[in-house]
């Protein structure tokens, strides 16, 4: 590794080794390369949901078209056990991808065991992406999907009192923003919010933002993502708390949260600050900061010790939240 003047927590040794191997090949992101970034292959087998994985887990999938923001058609997929009956816990999933890439099949793979073990039903939403559809499209599509899920709880086999929202990275930020919308519009009640290394703050100011110009999601990538979402509004007073939940000053009345991140990633400080603000507002929150984790370490290197610990902690929370 090259030496640097910026002090920062180093990557975990196992993660560092993998990053040194794949770092050169990871796609880079600038304002001009969003199209290429979308096309680039990622070595994140753990994220991708395949028919084989579904069959092994005994889970079925169906695709539906539902009304999104302003009534436009958007897609959702519903995953449930083949033998699902009655009303089980619900997981409303919002995928990651920096606000500019990814689709609804990015992420649910890690939650297949929860569907199988707790007979949960998972709905994952194809919200429209920036920059073609800037703020508020992503968070409003996500909210529209949540409303639809709650309204159709009966036919989905979901117990509306046991519905949680979940997302990673940009999906974590959109999940937090959707939970704020649900609170403020007196929309669907949520039993929990699972925010996996969430992207919450457009202001580009935290210490961790300044420390990580390296890794899988750099400060520069982060600026590109927020610029795509917010355009000239990024960093100004014109940004809503639903687009950038870190800006919310009143977090009272939000559902219990699970927040995790790595100590060696851009999102560390905004994620820790969000958990702290939730506690201060009297909201239950569980926070895990994994030593030496870069952004998405549990997905890129799931075999490493720190990723195993992170996945186990999340599974454990899910069992407490979704188990009967």
């Amino acid at each position: 590794m090259t030496t640097t003047a910026t002090p920062r927590p180093p990557f975990d040794p196992e993660l560092d080794a993998l990053l040194s191997l794949v770092g050169d090949q990871l796609p880079t992101l600038t304002a001009d390369t969003i199209a290429e970034f979308r096309e680039a292959a990622l070595p994140v087998e753990a994220l991708v949901i395949t028919d084989d994985k579904l069959e092994a887990a005994g889970v079925t999938r169906r695709d539906l078209t539902i009304p999104g923001y302003e009534g436009a058609d958007i897609e959702v997929s519903v995953f449930a056990r083949a033998d699902h009956t009655g009303a089980g816990p619900g997981i409303y999933h919002v995928h990651g991808g920096g606000m500019i890439t990814g689709d609804r099949f990015l992420g649910p793979a890690a939650m297949l065991p929860w569907i199988a073990d707790h007979d949960a039903v998972l709905v994952t939403v194809e919200y429209r992406l920036a920059p073609e559809f800037p703020d508020p499209y992503p968070v409003e599509d996500s909210y529209a999907g949540l409303v639809w899920t709650a309204e159709h709880a009966d036919e989905l086999g979901v117990d509306p009192a046991r519905l949680i929202i979940a997302g990673a990275s940009a999906g974590g930020g959109l999940a937090a923003g959707t939970a704020l919308l649900a609170r403020d519009r007196k929309g669907p009640a949520l039993a929990g919010q699972l925010l996996i290394c969430p992207m919450l703050d457009d202001r580009d100011e935290s210490a961790s933002t300044q420390q990580y110009d390296t890794g899988t999601w750099t400060r520069e990538f982060n600026r590109v993502g927020w610029d795509a979402l917010l355009g000239d509004r990024r960093g100004t007073d014109e940004v809503s708390i639903y687009a950038a939940p870190a800006r919310a000053t009143d977090l009272a009345g939000l559902p219990p949260a699970y927040i995790d991140c790595g100590s060696a990633e851009v999102f560390r400080d905004e994620d820790v600050a969000y958990a702290t603000a939730l506690w201060q507002a009297g909201v239950q929150a569980e926070l895990h900061v994994w030593a030496g984790g870069f952004h998405g370490f549990d997905m890129l290197a799931p075999h490493t010790a720190v990723a195993q610990a992170s996945i186990a902690a999340r599974d454990n929370w899910a069992a407490r939240m979704l188990g009967s």
């Binding site: 040794p13 560092d16 191997l21 794949v22 799931p302 075999h303 490493t304």
Partner: protein
């Protein structure tokens, strides 16, 4: 679970799977990962359980990185010994293409860990530029070498057995290499050898640095390279940063195979005419290529100064490239 090695190669189609396996274990060793982490990597790379036994203690991890218990019905395939440790994969049925390679690199890395932990890292400390002269001298005395003794280090491939003298395996900027102390000057290895410069023992890191450069310059035609023979070119090689090469190196690297052949003939021949004869090309077309190469390189490779620039750039180019390609 899909084999990690396949995914890594899909990501970087120009690198072979062998290269990825070697580079991954090198990176794990350089990061200071322990035996558990090495086993998790081996399991993930191969998509099957990996295990190790030290004394009566058995450690196993599945392809997802989960720790497994010791059972009596473990069938190691393939397996290797690494000093006091035995390591293996638990491949059910026919071996996959990379299984032997994974276990070989796993064994090397495990042996390196043992060496470092076991003998207080005697030679490792003596060769570590970051340590003080006092620390290095103390490490040398444990090896029964006096600070003022003249020694040299030789570098060989880690996969080859140690040449029979005090030896260790070290991460270098050219990947993992075996370092062996040569006190007599008549140490010989069966395979490719990079010989360091002679130095006072308490300056052993200088000799080791030169040995790694010399090793990097070996080839099938030239299996033994002595850093002493590089003369002042050694200073150039030491200053060379493969990640930020000099423009002369970048321009030379941009030449295609034909251009490289013509260029070499131009530099090594007495005249354009004899270069043309050597290449089996017409005089005028070699003349034209000479002119275009001069423009492309930014210097005339047939002048004495141009020749020197070419020779220096060609050496540095051989030091560049993928760290593992020399093994």
């Amino acid at each position: 679970m899909q084999e990690l090695v396949g995914r890594l190669t899909a990501l970087d189609p120009e690198a072979s799977e062998t290269l990825k396996v070697v580079a991954y274990f090198d990176a794990l060793v350089a990061s200071g990962v322990g035996l558990d982490g090495l086993l998790r990597a081996a399991a993930a790379l191969s998509g099957t359980t990996a295990g190790a036994q030290r004394g009566s203690r058995v450690i196993r991890f599945d392809a997802n990185g989960r720790r497994l218990g010791a059972t009596d019905d473990v069938v190691p395939s393939p397996e290797r010994s690494a000093g006091e440790v035995r390591v293996w994969l638990e491949r059910d049925g026919a071996l996959h293409a990379n299984d032997e390679m994974v276990v070989e690199r796993l064994a090397l890395a495990a042996e390196l860990l043992e060496t470092r932990r076991g003998q207080d890292g005697g030679l490792d400390v003596a060769l570590d530029q970051q340590r003080t002269v006092d620390e290095r001298s103390a490490a040398l005395s444990r090896l029964r070498i006096a600070s003022h003794d003249r020694i040299r280090l030789i570098a060989t491939d880690v996969a080859e057995p140690a040449p029979g003298a005090t030896s260790t395996v070290l991460p270098t900027k050219y990947g993992l290499l075996r370092a062996t102390v040569d006190l007599s000057g008549d140490l010989h290895a069966k395979t490719r050898v990079g010989k360091g410069i002679w130095a006072r023992a308490d300056h052993a890191p200088d000799s080791w640095d030169a040995a790694t450069i010399a090793f990097r310059l070996t080839s099938d035609e030239d299996p033994v390279v002595d850093a002493t023979d590089l003369g002042a070119m050694l200073l150039l090689a030491q200053a060379h940063d493969p990640d930020h090469p000099h423009d002369d190196v970048t321009r030379l690297a941009a030449c295609d195979a034909t251009q490289s052949t013509v260029l070499r003939a131009l530099v090594e021949s007495e005249s354009i005419r004899s270069a043309a004869a050597k290449l089996g090309m017409h005089h005028s077309s070699v003349q034209a290529r000479h002119e275009s190469l001069t423009r492309q390189l930014g210097y005339d490779p047939r002048t004495p100064a141009g020749r020197a620039r070419y020779v220096a750039a060609a050496m540095l180019l051989r030091l560049s490239g993928d760290a593992a390609s020399a093994t």
